[in-house]
């Protein structure tokens, strides 16, 4: 505690850089895992390519003849340096990097917004009695059920109203093909609510609230007769770390749910691209998307980890 500021700053930087490099290592590890999976595929997926010339060219390009370790290392290296090759079947010849970047760009707003919905809802409904029960209950429904229910339900209702002459054809009708902003909002809510992210956040907050409520400083404040709203302003600071942890826990399921929602709601994006790549057995594209999604998870995880540490002096001291 008596360290000179310089030493302290250095220690600080060291820990933070250490955390960051840990996350980076995790990402590399994840890429290696992906590469192992791909390399283990029985009968190379490339065999399904109709063009023998292209097959030979790609086999050489990807070193597919070599032993497992070579392929994994080569694959990981390519993934790391961004040499993701070109698409085989989804958009034959297109650069995977470009395809994935476009798709990730399309998905990013949805991902972030849905995540915000999950975290925000989880935080907003926490401790609101029936509101919490209903929203958390809804959030335990699978994304597919929520999205489907919303799409079919809204379509049926709008169609019924149109048939009865109550209203004309709204611009968003025929979800998910037309949809526009309504579809986006629906996908957003389905993804945010349905990935159990709300439940994860609310559960963490509930746990934290119980802990906070039982902690001495809150009791002391209550004993002094602090009002509920004043207490809230006292407690919010302590809900930040659990909220960050909840947000961290909520993110990967949302990434997974992205695939489902983009398919169901006919939205272009990384999930949709992955799906199509898998359908068309386009290994480079599928691998590229998974690596990119993994990267996103890692970046988000790392950012939140550092944020958490920045927020709580005790964690800072621990590091």
């Amino acid at each position: 505690m008596t360290d000179a500021p310089g030493i302290r700053a250095r220690a600080f930087a060291q820990t933070w850089l250490g955390r960051l490099s840990g996350w980076l290592l995790a990402w590399v590890g994840a890429i290696v895992l992906v590469q192992i999976l791909v390399a283990l595929a029985p009968g190379d997926a490339i065999d399904t390519l109709p063009d023998p010339g292209l097959r030979a060219q790609l086999t050489a390009e990807w070193g597919l003849g070599g032993p497992l370790a070579t392929r994994v290392i080569a694959g990981t290296w390519h993934a790391l340096i961004g040499a993701w090759g070109s698409s085989w079947t989804v958009r034959p010849g297109d650069s995977v990097g470009g395809l994935v970047a476009t798709a990730m760009g399309a998905s990013a707003p949805m991902l972030v917004a849905a995540w915000a919905v999950a975290v925000g809802l989880g935080a907003a409904v926490r401790g609101r009695g029936w509101g919490e029960k209903v929203v958390v209950g809804l959030s335990t429904l699978p994304v597919v059920l929520l999205a489907l229910g919303a799409i079919e339900g809204i379509n049926a209702a709008v169609w019924a109203g149109m048939s009865a002459g109550w209203w004309g054809r709204p611009a968003f009708f025929a979800l998910p093909m037309e949809g526009g902003v309504v579809r986006d909002a629906l996908a957003l809510v389905a993804l945010g609510v349905g990935s159990a992210g709300v439940a994860a956040v609310a559960a963490r907050l509930a746990e934290a609230d119980a802990r906070i409520d039982a902690s001495g400083f809150v009791l002391a404040a209550r004993a002094r007769g602090m009002t509920v709203s004043a207490l809230r302003s006292l407690k919010w600071r302590h809900r930040v770390v659990p909220l960050i942890e909840g947000a961290q826990a909520a993110f990967p399921p949302i990434v997974g749910g992205l695939v489902v929602v983009e398919r169901l709601c006919a939205l272009p994006g990384a999930g949709d691209l992955l799906w199509r790549a898998v359908e068309a057995r386009d290994i480079p594209v599928a691998t590229g998307v998974v690596v990119a999604l993994t990267g996103t998870t890692v970046v988000v995880g790392a950012a939140l980890d550092l944020l958490r540490r920045a927020w709580d002096p005790r964690l800072r001291a621990e590091a």
């Binding site: 917004a113 925000g120 169609w159 611009a171 025929a174 006919a266």
Partner: protein, 517 residues
């Protein structure tokens, strides 16, 4: 409960904000949106295998001659044609005012390139058969091409209907499926492909330089969008919901719903198509005709058709309305007992849980294309029927690449469930001739070959009809496949699209005359 604004759940506002924006939003611009089960993988007429590709090709490309409204061949890119007296050569004068969609002029070079590409073995064009009648072709000036024929041709303009590609867009021969061209095709057609969108839709816009027949150079619909909607049932709903304007193929069971809607009109389309379950004739146990017949007689085909909708059962490679259909050919009876006897004769023994031969259970894999409509219901039915009679059935739904590889290239399958669609000529030669390029089952029957040759060489309708009716019977007896049915086949278009005439095969041939209200 009153709550200060600070505590209003922010995410709800976030979620609702776009809804608010919607109030200010405007409807989509007028354009023709049509749905396909699967977006065409390749927009290159040299490699067309599916109907979706055919339809897109019709929008973007033109041929020397094309069908007019009476389905007679009339010049499209050609100006005129002159057949030599021995009918072995033809000189086609090309229209000289036509430009490719990238602005370069259309010349004789392009025609010669296209023909050479089609005939080039290294290119392996799936349309090679259409150029077989041409032995050679060469430029005679910028806007004239001379064709030499293999045999005397009576009406070569009826065959010069393949799409023409721009030579300058390729690096020469051979042409590859993966050439960049397939994503940014350049044609002379009424529409040009603008973009493969991220949602797998494809946008087309009217080609400003389009030169139509008889000086009709303007196109009624400025924008066309092809949307990929995998779920057929959903396509019908989208049409009802006015989210798309055209549906190229309606599921039979949706017909009632669509026709009761006053905003939709149905057009018979693509009616010459039929389903089959084909056996791999090169693979045991299907090498044994008794096994094939046993399987055919085990199947209760009407039962399989029931979930799909209404259709006609068939006994051979034609739809019943075809002039070649042999109405005297009886269907295989649904007779499990007789089928059992056949299997016994083929050396199988019935055990408590199935048919065995040399200790191995009779088990087959049925492969079907994922995009085949209602394939799931049909395969489930087929599987259930055969399993009830002691034959193990595995279902394998294949994606487009896997289908092309396993079925077309490797012939690696037991039984395929698929559908063929023919144009009005109903030429089954490629499917059943022993060296036919689409003879996926591998049928090799000299009698069938003879009949098909006779039909090809026939120069009067009666002879061709007679030969093909005999071929129908023969193919039925050979049993390379169980012929299943033909379905009610309609396209549906919104009444907003006016002036619609649908080409019975290529759909969009006369689309330049369509208008959007």
């Amino acid at each position: 409960m009153a709550r200060s604004p600070r505590h209003l759940p922010l995410p709800w506002l976030l979620a609702l904000a776009p809804l608010g924006a919607l109030v200010l939003g405007t409807a989509a611009a007028a354009q023709l949106r049509y749905a396909e089960d699967q977006a065409p993988a390749i927009v290159n007429p040299l490699f067309t295998t599916s109907m979706a590709e055919t339809r897109v090709g019709e929008l973007v490309f033109q041929s020397l001659y094309a069908d007019d409204h009476t389905l007679a061949s009339v010049p499209q890119l050609a100006e005129s044609g002159e057949l030599s007296t021995d009918r072995m050569h033809m000189t086609v004068r090309l229209r000289d005012s036509v430009n490719w969609q990238d602005g370069s002029p259309f010349t004789a070079k392009d025609v010669v390139f296209t023909v050479h590409a089609m005939k080039d073995p290294a290119t392996a064009s799936t349309e090679a058969g259409r150029a077989q009648f041409i032995s050679d072709c060469r430029e005679v000036g910028d806007h004239a091409v001379q064709f030499d024929f293999v045999r005397p041709e009576l009406r070569p303009e009826d065959k010069l209907t393949f799409k023409i590609l721009p030579a300058a867009a390729f690096a020469g021969l051979p042409v590859k499926r993966t050439d960049a061209f397939h994503l940014a095709p350049i044609g002379t057609g009424p529409w040009s492909l603008v973009k493969y969108n991220d949602d797998n839709s494809v946008s087309f816009s009217a080609n400003p330089g389009y030169k139509g027949p008889d000086g009709k150079d303007d196109v009624g619909i400025a924008q066309i969008t092809m949307k990929e909607v995998a779920d057929k049932n959903y396509q019908a709903k989208l049409l009802l919901y006015e989210s798309i304007d055209a549906l190229v193929r309606v599921l039979p069971r949706d017909l009632a719903m669509l026709q009761s809607n006053r905003k939709v009109e149905l057009y018979p389309y693509q009616t010459n198509s039929w389903w089959y379950a084909g056996f791999n004739l090169a693979r045991a146990p299907f090498t044994d005709p008794r096994v094939r017949q046993a399987l055919a007689e085990m199947l209760d085909v009407p039962n399989m058709l029931a979930p799909v909708g209404t259709g006609d059962l068939i006994t051979g490679p034609y739809v019943p309305s075809s002039p070649f259909y042999n109405h005297d050919t009886p269907p295989w009876p649904h007779d499990p007992a007789a089928a059992g006897a056949l299997l016994t004769a083929a050396g199988y023994q019935k055990d408590a849980d199935g048919w065995y031969k040399a200790g191995r259970k009779l088990a087959i894999t049925v492969s079907a294309h994922r995009a085949l409509e209602s394939a799931q219901e049909v395969t489930i039915n087929l599987q259930s029927q055969l399993q009830a009679q002691g034959i193990d059935v595995t279902i394998d739904f294949l994606d487009e690449p896997a289908w092309r590889q396993q079925v077309w290239t490797d012939r690696n399958y037991d039984v395929v469930l698929s559908q063929w669609t023919f144009d009005r000529n109903e030429d089954i030669r490629e499917q059943f001739y022993s060296t036919g390029s689409r003879n996926l089952m591998g049928l090799k029957d000299p009698d069938v070959d003879k009949l098909l040759d006779a039909a090809r060489d026939a120069n009067d309708p009666i002879a061709r009809k007679t030969a093909l009716r005999a071929a129908h019977q023969k193919i039925h007896d050979d049993l390379p496949m169980v012929f299943l049915w033909t379905l009610d086949s309609y396209a549906a278009l919104s009444t907003k699209v006016r002036g619609v005439t649908v080409h019975p095969f290529a759909f969009f041939t006369w689309a330049p005359e369509w208008q959007m209200q």
